[in-house]
């Protein structure tokens, strides 16, 4: 019972905290996209700005980590409510979704950084 309570409270706090980070990240991300496309930047021009840029690299790592924390907790709730999953299945789903998002996100960042 205590373990379930601790887990519930931690998941809630993590999702709230990551939501706050995501709110800022999404805003910066969208503004950047709009500015880049309106300025008519080519793929090469964008890559020349991101490759080797520690700033953009750091920003998107934070973005991806926040996403990988936030989204799986939501998926977990959906699986519990709509599919009736409980216990181990939920933990597995959360872990897999976290790993998949981390792997995909970090790979994409590495692709435009290196």
């Amino acid at each position: 019972m205590n373990a379930a309570a601790r887990l519930g409270a931690w998941l809630w706090a993590l999702q709230r905290g990551s939501a706050a980070v995501l709110a800022a990240c999404v805003l910066v991300h969208l503004v950047t996209i709009v500015l880049a496309t309106r300025a008519g930047l080519s793929a090469e021009a964008i890559l020349s700005r991101t490759q080797g840029s520690v700033g953009w690299f750091g920003f998107y790592v934070v973005f991806v980590v926040a996403l990988a924390v936030h989204a799986p907790i939501g998926l977990r709730a959906i699986a519990a409510e709509w599919l009736g999953w409980r216990g181990r299945a939920l933990d597995l789903l959360t872990a897999l979704a976290t790993l998949a998002l981390l792997a995909g996100g970090l790979r994409a960042i590495w692709g435009v950084f290196r």
């Binding site: 379930a4 309570a5 519930g8 409270a9 709230r16 709730a77 519990a80 409510e81 009736g84």
Partner: protein
């Protein structure tokens, strides 16, 4: 106001879970409540109709039903306000097993109050002085905000999360738990927090606010649940959960 000799078309749920609607025509009266309608049907049209009521004045919380799709206390719901084109549809409360007609089995609803730690536990005895609780204190105000719950089940019946995961403790039980968490005389805070922060507890709430919208006493279980979430997170971060 409709003429008193008008009639109302009332479709009433009959039987158990797999029952069906039965139609009645009920004469309209001035200031008529939905409970008056049900009582008229039982006394004059079909004495086998099962429904619950006790106080008739909005205190006991026993007469709640689904009226035209919305959970309401029927003793204080005027027909004028809810009838659509001179028609009413009455069903038992949703999210609870139907015993018969308009009567639901509320055991699970109240068992969840117990599961959420809804019992007061103090440290003092009858030999001690009365606790002096400052009426204007924040904690006392928080208790006041939720203490008038009459246990009618309207919030529980209106809650989407209860419909989706039946083990969810529900708005009424969680609000009750919060009034005790805010009660400075209570000593079972930690256990209660463990009880409400579990798998189907306060964190399952999606803040849809249907409970707050529908509560006939205008309470806000949503606010109480939000405070429980925060309290649980604080306790977890401090390693006290």
């Amino acid at each position: 106001m409709a003429d008193v000799d008008d009639e109302l078309e009332v479709r009433v749920w009959r039987g158990g879970e797999d029952g069906a609607f039965q139609a009645f025509r009920v004469p309209r009266r001035e200031s008529q409540t939905v409970l008056d309608i049900v009582t008229h049907i039982q006394r004059h049209l079909d004495p086998t109709l099962a429904y619950r009521f006790a106080c008739r004045v909005g205190m006991c919380g026993s007469c709640a039903m689904t009226v035209n799709g919305v959970a309401r206390w029927t003793c204080r719901t005027h027909v004028n306000k809810v009838a659509r084109k001179g028609a009413l549809e009455l069903r038992p409360l949703a999210n609870l097993p139907v015993i018969r007609d308009l009567v639901t089995d509320m055991r699970e609803f109240f068992d969840k109050w117990a599961r959420a730690g809804g019992q007061f536990r103090g440290a003092s005895t009858r030999h001690d002085e009365f606790a002096r609780v400052e009426p204007a204190s924040v904690q006392r105000q928080q208790v006041d905000a939720g203490i008038e719950c009459i246990g009618c089940g309207v919030c529980y019946s209106s809650c989407d999360v209860v419909a989706w995961r039946p083990d969810y403790l529900g708005p009424a039980a969680l609000q009750r738990a919060f009034t005790l968490m805010a009660d400075e005389r209570d000593t079972a805070g930690r256990e209660r927090l463990q009880a409400v922060a579990g798998d189907a507890g306060c964190h399952s709430c999606h803040t849809h606010m249907s409970c707050t919208e529908r509560c006939p006493k205008h309470l806000s279980p949503t606010a109480a649940i939000a405070k429980l979430k925060t309290a649980a997170a604080r306790a977890a971060l401090r390693g006290e959960l």
